[in-house]
């Protein structure tokens, strides 16, 4: 129970520190800048692979469905994103005439804040900052009997960066060849690269014996025997984005996320690679 409290305090401190930095940054800002504010809806087909060495040395994998919702505030100098992501699927392992399937759910809440970095390339915008995330997953695999359920939670503070390359078409474009006639007007387009390197990460996961005796021990709850451990996280995304005149946008990205819980016990590692389609709806029509 003490370990759970420590983990919760760690999460709260991470969130508070980031929100305090936000307040301070806004107070120091003398410039009034036009923000684009969007609500982003995303769907991704993520290929998830996880290995929980406490219960199996085999990697379970499959495509899972991923839905995200984010509030995105952006201008030339600053970007702020508050997002929530949910994954659900059934990774499995099929080996040596044995098929084992686990149900898998993942929930991830994150807050990211980026500031412009001055550089000399016109078409390139660079921003760096930080991200705090709080997430966890729930896995269930009946073949593992009393160790069927794994609940892993993590919080991490990451160094984040975003590179945006403006590839907008500024004039009309025509293509004429034989019977093919294409005419396109100006369009705002960007290539966007996001990366988040975990600086600090704490994981909270099943303890040495993995199973708990909540049915037998008065003091054992859902997280009995759980332990805090180091859990570095790394994320990245590379996408193509088209922004419309009303500042709505569509983004198609390759997204990648990985985390490893490692401590004195057997580690747990999970990674996902996917294709994500995002629709951003502008809410700042001034």
């Amino acid at each position: 129970m003490r370990k759970l409290r420590t983990f919760i305090v760690f999460c709260i401190l991470s969130l508070v520190s980031l929100f305090l930095s936000k307040v301070k940054a806004e107070n120091n800002s003398n410039e009034k800048l036009d923000y684009s504010k969007t609500i982003d809806f995303s769907y991704a087909a993520n290929y998830v692979s996880f290995t929980d060495f406490a219960t199996s040395p085999l990697t379970y994998s499959s495509f899972v469905n991923s839905l995200s919702l984010a509030y995105h505030k952006d201008n030339i100098k600053r970007t702020t994103i508050l997002g929530l992501k949910f994954d659900k699927g059934s990774p499995s392992v099929n080996y040596n005439n044995t098929v084992s399937t686990a149900s898998y759910m993942n929930l991830d809440l994150y807050y990211k804040r980026l500031y412009k970095v001055n550089q000399s390339i016109d078409k390139l915008s660079l921003k760096v900052g930080g991200m705090v995330s709080l997430g966890g997953d729930l896995r269930s695999n009946t073949k593992l009997q009393n160790a069927a359920t794994g609940i892993d939670m993590n919080t991490s503070l990451s160094l984040s960066g975003r590179a945006t390359w403006d590839i907008s078409r500024l004039s009309n474009y025509t293509f004429d060849w034989w019977f093919i006639h294409i005419k396109r007007g100006p369009v705002t387009r960007h290539l966007v690269l996001d990366c988040d390197f975990g600086l600090l990460g704490a994981g909270f996961r099943n303890g040495y014996s993995y199973v708990n005796q909540s049915g037998l021990a008065d003091t054992d709850g859902l997280f009995a025997g759980y332990n805090m451990m180091y859990a570095p996280r790394m994320k990245g995304a590379f996408g193509y984005q088209v922004t419309f005149k009303n500042h709505n946008f569509v983004n198609l990205s390759y997204v990648w996320d990985s985390i490893k819980y490692k401590g004195s016990y057997e580690p747990y590692q999970v990674a996902s690679h996917g294709i994500q389609l995002t629709f951003g709806f502008n809410t700042n029509n001034k």
Binding site: T55, L58, K123, A147, A163, Y208, A217, H273
Partner: protein, 340 residues
């Protein structure tokens, strides 16, 4: 410049995805007999909870069985070697499961005689049939003086409705027989649901502890298991619980917990044990296994975990297989309760 940047961005994206290869560990996927044997041996060595109690030299066990392995052996042969290794633990909570077979030591067969035959009871003691309420079969015996409750498995289906029905139906009897012979266990939640009807005060009945490190004697502190009285009808008259070597796991937890109840007497034969909660895991070849990773002690002896070898009964009675019209254990229970 534009192209260089574009190529850099794409390269970076692939570089990130390659990062996981660097800091992730490789899965151990193999059908190699030696690797699978060593994996299972190590898992047991670092997590199994009864090596010291059962006086098992696990290193010697490895040496004895590892020499039976060879690279080209069939899966069936590998299964048999690993099964024999696990059977050295003499623990029915220790099993190996493959598509070909499931291993089990079978305490009941190896450590005592069979003491239960449901057909003998059904034919000779239940002339007016019986009622089935949830996991229980029950009826009156001896002119409604005694309640007989058969509880064959901890299915996790004991609830307020079936327990309340039974408690009220037999409230006026002189005594109750709870028959847990050949009850192989199941959901431990049923232990509390059952025993909460036989006490009016909250009481600690067991202590449990978990394996917390790789050494054979690394355990957590004792954690108490209490029975809180049910808000429903209680039964405070004499109760005899019938058990035998087939009474295992949750059946043994219940048997050991009754040592803290003044009105419950254990009768029959020593239980099969199974007082360590089993875990679950998978081998590099996809097969699965489980073994005990906790220990249990009675409330009166908080440092005595030896009941894993079986919970002794208060009154020893054996079934006589020469006469298939009588259940000597049940007869003794009926006689004891009717003369109290």
């Amino acid at each position: 410049m534009k192209n260089i940047l574009l190529i850099s961005l794409v390269s970076l994206a692939f570089l990130f995805s390659g990062c996981e290869k660097v800091f992730f560990e490789e899965q151990q996927k193999t059908t190699d007999p030696f690797e699978n044997f060593d994996y299972l041996w190590t898992q047991c060595d670092t997590k199994y909870s009864f090596f010291e109690l059962k006086n098992v030299d696990w290193n010697q066990v490895r040496d004895n069985y590892r020499q039976r392995l060879y690279k080209e052996m069939t899966e069936d042969s590998l299964f048999n070697v690993m099964k024999l290794m696990l059977n050295e633990l003499k623990d029915d909570h220790t099993n190996l499961m493959s598509p070909l077979n499931i291993s089990m030591y079978n305490v009941a067969r190896n450590h005592g005689q069979d003491n239960f035959d449901w057909q003998v009871i059904e034919r000779n003691y239940m002339p007016n049939q019986y009622i089935t309420s949830g996991p229980f079969q029950h009826c009156f015996m001896l002119n409604k003086q005694i309640a007989y409750i058969r509880f064959g498995s901890f299915t996790g289906t004991i609830d307020d409705i079936n327990m309340e029905y039974i408690m009220k139906r037999y409230a006026d009897t002189e005594g109750m027989i709870l028959d847990l012979r050949e009850n192989g266990g199941g959901a431990v939640s049923d232990v509390h649901s059952l025993l909460s009807r036989f006490t009016d005060t909250k009481k600690v009945v067991l202590y449990v502890r978990d394996k917390i490190g790789p050494k054979h004697n690394e355990f957590s502190k004792n954690k108490a298991f209490s029975i809180t009285p049910s808000s429903g009808t209680h039964y405070n008259k004499p109760v005899i619980m019938l058990v035998d070597r087939g009474t295992f796991s949750a059946g043994s937890y219940t048997s050991l917990a009754t040592k803290a109840f003044d009105n419950i007497t254990l009768m029959g034969d020593t239980t099969g044990g199974g007082l360590g909660l089993p875990n679950g895991g998978q081998l590099p070849n996809g097969w699965t296994y489980r073994f005990s990773i906790t220990q249990t002690a009675p409330v009166a002896e908080p440092n005595n975990y030896s009941y894993e070898n079986g919970v002794p009964v208060d009154v020893v009675v054996k079934f006589d297989w020469s006469d298939h019209t009588k259940d000597e254990i049940l007869d003794k229970a009926l006689e004891t309760l009717s003369t109290k």
